[in-house]
């Protein structure tokens, strides 16, 4: 009998009857922290995906579900990585009832194509996830990815009505349904949203759609100090207007999503609102009054430029890395009221560590991204990350190391410490993926 090791080293061959692709280019596309999968498989249905998983489980091969690699690098560097399971060939729309605001699509559909498809009926998913148009629906769900627009209707978690999941047992499980309200049985879909490819493969999703606002306007202003930004946040959140999204940026690097030609001191605040002409008139006068009370001038932004800026704001992680491949991208999630205080502390920590730092914060959206670009290789990377994480926790939040040079990623924890609910999470992993073949070791606590 051939040992498992020999079996594996003999090559992946085919999985569940689907030929594995092994050329360098295909594999490199799904590289994570410099580790290439030994093969890539492209199933074209839910059932095929399930058989790929069953066969991988039987052979003990580590599989990472993926599509377009916009967030694939997030998580601990892979220990074992036998096959990338790409949902590239699964991008159909199975059910669409625009009058009911419900759609069912395959998980490999790209987010941009999705928005375009439903946009023809004046609908959208009110989300601006990292990865933007290139992200896949499955990826957006698996990472619960949401940009600053999350202040409007929440994250993908809140828009998912149902899904189909391919399991390592070779089954296709259904969770939820196709109606907007449904409490039959346990809400299994919740456990898959934000599970980062470690429990099962989301092969199909049913989502709740929303009507797109008739008009949208973006404005920008400067908050000279974090105190001013805080004041702006409090005023906006206490006002009756409900913006589509808001963010503020600071930048000491050149190619972060900084936008104006001039480089004013302080924080650029961006705000977008939507509605009818009459509603927009009211909103702009409200925002203007708030800006004025802070001694800032409000500038409207024409739509093409606004679109580009928002794209870079929500895809900060990739935009920064394109300009600075050695950048460290950190994402802190914390209560809204503590965001400015955390950012102030973070900027002083990174200042002390001697990195150039860019930041994007979702105003009201509980998220602060930090992009650290080292001036030289002699910076105290580990200690800085530890200090920043401690600060996020001190302010009641948590911090993820989203991106870092592979060698640094191996030395720091991507997700931080686990808490008293970890044993339950471990058992959840165990029932979905008893052999531990799905993205093994990549999620928090080595899940």
């Amino acid at each position: 009998m051939a040992s498992a090791v020999e079996h594996v080293s003999a090559g992946v061959g085919s999985l569940g009857g689907i030929a594995a692709v092994t050329d360098q280019e295909s594999r490199a596309r799904y590289a994570i922290d410099g580790v290439l999968p030994r093969a890539v498989v492209y199933p074209s249905s839910a059932e095929e995906t399930a058989s790929v998983l069953a066969s991988a489980a039987e052979r003990g091969l580590a599989v990472v579900p993926c599509r377009n690699a916009t967030q694939l690098d997030i998580g601990a560097p892979p220990g074992r990585y036998d096959a990338a399971l790409s949902l590239k060939n699964m991008a159909s729309v199975w059910y669409y009832e625009p009058a009911d605001l419900v759609i069912t699509v395959e998980a490999g559909m790209k987010f941009g194509d999705f928005q375009h498809f439903v946009g023809r009926d004046g609908l959208w998913l009110p989300l601006d996830p990292p990865g933007g148009a290139g992200a896949s629906i499955g990826g957006v769900l698996a990472t619960n990815a949401a940009g600053p627009m999350r202040i409007l209707h929440g994250t993908p978690r809140d828009m998912t009505l149902g899904m189909k999941i391919a399991t390592v047992e070779g089954k296709v499980i259904k969770a939820g349904g196709r109606v907007v309200k449904n409490v039959a049985g346990y809400d299994l879909g919740k456990s898959l949203v934000g599970s980062w490819g470690t429990l099962g493969v989301i092969v199909e999703a049913t989502l709740k759609l929303f009507p797109r606002p008739a008009r949208r306007e973006t404005y920008t202003l400067i908050g000279r100090t974090l105190d001013r930004v805080r004041e702006f946040r409090r005023n906006i959140l206490a006002s009756p207007i409900a913006p589509l999204r808001m963010a503020y940026l600071s930048d000491e690097t050149s190619a972060a999503p900084r936008t104006s030609a001039s480089q004013p001191e302080g924080f650029e605040i961006w705000i977008e609102a939507g509605g009818s002409e009459r509603v927009m008139a009211r909103i702009s006068s409200e925002i203007e009054a708030i800006a004025k009370s802070m001694g800032s001038a409000l500038a409207p932004v024409e739509s093409e430029r606004a679109t580009a800026v928002w794209e870079r704001i929500s895809d900060f992680r990739n935009a920064l890395a394109r300009a600075h491949p050695d950048a460290v991208v950190l994402k802190a999630s914390l209560p809204v009221a503590q965001m400015e205080a955390f950012l102030g502390r973070a900027l002083s920590i990174t200042g002390g560590a001697g990195t150039r730092t860019a930041s994007v914060s979702y105003l009201g959206g509980e998220t602060v991204y930090l992009g650290l670009v080292p001036r030289n290789s002699e910076w105290p990377a580990e200690a800085t990350v530890a200090q920043l994480r401690a600060a996020a926790e001190e302010f009641g939040g948590a911090m993820i190391v989203e991106r870092a040079p592979a060698e640094l990623k191996r030395r720091v924890s991507a997700w931080g410490e686990t808490k008293d609910d970890f044993a339950v999470m471990q058992r959840l992993k165990k029932v979905w993926d008893p052999k531990g073949i799905l993205s093994p070791g990549r999620f928090i606590g080595g899940l």
């Binding site: 349904g177 309200k181 509980e366 997700w415």
Partner: protein, 473 residues
């Protein structure tokens, strides 16, 4: 009667005034709002998480099932005892622990009554969105267990969209904290799994919720119809046109006449159906939307559309809606509230099916819908003293459920499965689906210790489609 050893141990944990064990007192706990089952062996009222943990450990040691219970307003038999056991009542854990207005969060104990939370945060211009019609009585713990909805969850989501974190006592007696005060703590969404798990995965002892800011303007409209079908068409048209109402409720003529007689809310006695529609937001947006709503109603043959002129008129209209179940109790000795969901576009045909099913079984059916999200509450009238009527009602209810599923819907939108609909689960889930759901009992280490006999089909029904109306009706 002498207290047994079990009772003495319970008293040692919760105090003499924290345990009920006299048969007369236990009888009150035979019921929830669905029906009666059987009295529990004891009822215990802990005041702290540590006491809950103590009770859970005791029950585990003695292998006695525990049934968590809030206000007992549940409509699917979730809080009743099926095969003996102790009722763990959370009603004395009713502290609002923390209100954090700037972060729009509150942390509460599970026994806090839904409406009391909104009242407590009103001074900050905030409120808690999910508003079950039972909100004057039901507890937030019960809401979490059932993933409850309400008229105003149409625009802003049901309980699960407003709960960020939980303290849970597991069946082992261990205490865990899921989620956080902010969205996005890394790790599996155990909070999302707990919400809607009907008291079977753990005892919720603390809840962190999000609070919403009150809108600047609210407009409440009453659209009156001579044909019920036109009302359902209006709902579909509003959805299709992207007019997002904050609430969109429907009552048919049968129901609204009963309601009007009981509450004098101003519903026209001679109409076939009314829609109660609320739009809110910025003043300008609410005004525009109210005009659009009005236009769509008129296009769909509303006889008239009335706008509530002030807050008193608004509250009166809502009082009628929220007391509808009570009002029906005045006209029929018994009635059975059903809860199904269908895609909103299918409302007109569903209304026809409902009529057909009622006629077939010779029973009167009143209809009250959270129409905006396709959530139906048909009310089936009967007299519990007549076994044949009970039987007809049970059959009609099962047929209504089958019809919801056939139209692409679900067997419950907010009242839960409980003991009522466990046998219907195979209508929408395969064996594999249910198997994976059952594994969650393993994940939380609950086994059969908490609320046994709920949600999952017993497998004893041999294909007969049946709802379980409970023992006494």
């Amino acid at each position: 009667m002498r207290a047994s050893a079990h009772i003495r141990e319970l008293i040692a944990i919760a105090g003499t005034d924290g345990v009920l064990w006299n048969p007369e007192e236990l009888m009150l706990y035979e019921y929830d709002a669905l029906s009666a089952a059987r009295p529990p062996d004891a009822v215990v009222f802990p005041r702290t998480t540590a006491q809950v943990a103590g009770i859970v450990k005791l029950a585990r040691r003695k292998k006695i099932p525990l049934v968590p219970r809030g206000a007992g307003t549940g409509l699917s038999g979730g809080a009743v005892v099926t095969e003996g056991g102790i009722v763990l009542s959370l009603v004395r854990m009713k502290q609002i622990i923390e209100v954090d207005p700037e972060n729009q969060r509150a942390r509460v104990q599970p026994g806090v009554v839904n409406l009391d939370l909104s009242a407590a945060v009103a001074k900050h211009g905030l409120y808690y969105v999910p508003d079950p019609s039972s909100q004057r009585a039901c507890t937030l713990g019960g809401n979490v267990a059932e993933n409850s909805g309400g008229p105003h969850t149409l625009a802003y989501g049901v309980t699960t969209n407003h709960v960020l974190g939980l303290e849970v006592v597991l069946a082992s007696g261990e205490v865990i904290h899921t989620g956080a005060k902010f969205w996005g703590r890394p790790g599996y969404d155990l909070t999302g799994l707990m919400v809607g798990s009907e008291g079977m995965l753990g005892i919720v002892t603390e809840i962190t919720v999000r609070l919403a800011r009150k809108p600047e303007a609210v407009k409440t409209l009453l659209a009156i119809y001579d044909q019920a079908r036109d009302a359902t068409r209006t709902v579909a048209a509003l959805t299709a046109r992207g007019i997002t109402a904050a609430a969109l409720e429907m009552m048919d003529g049968f129901t609204l006449r009963a309601v009007e007689e009981a509450t004098h809310a101003g519903y026209p006695m001679d109409s076939a159906a009314v829609l109660l529609i609320e739009v809110e937001g910025l003043r300008e947006a609410a005004e525009e939307q109210a005009e659009q709503v009005q236009a769509v109603c008129m296009e769909n043959h509303a006889r008239a559309v009335r706008l509530a002129g002030n807050n008193d008129e608004r509250e009166l209209l809502w009082k009628g809606r929220k007391n509808a179940f009570g009002a029906l109790g005045r006209i029929s000795p018994n009635f059975y509230v059903q809860d199904g969901v269908i895609p909103r576009t299918r409302l007109p045909e569903m209304l026809d099916s409902m009529e057909r099913i009622g006629r077939k079984h010779g029973i009167a059916i009143g209809n009250i819908f959270h129409a905006g999200d396709g959530n139906l509450h048909p009310l089936l009238m009967y007299d519990a003293r007549k076994p044949a009527e009970r039987e007809s009602v049970a059959k009609a209810a099962a047929e209504i459920m089958a019809e919801c599923v056939a139209l692409g819907g679900s067997i419950t939108g907010e009242h839960g499965v409980g003991i009522e609909k466990s046998e219907l689960m195979p209508l929408i889930f395969s064996e594999d689906d249910l198997e994976m759901q059952k594994k969650m009992l393993q994940v939380f280490g609950a086994g059969e210790a908490l609320n046994p006999g709920k949600v999952f089909p017993s497998g004893k029904m041999c294909g007969e489609l049946r709802v379980q109306m409970g023992g006494a009706g």
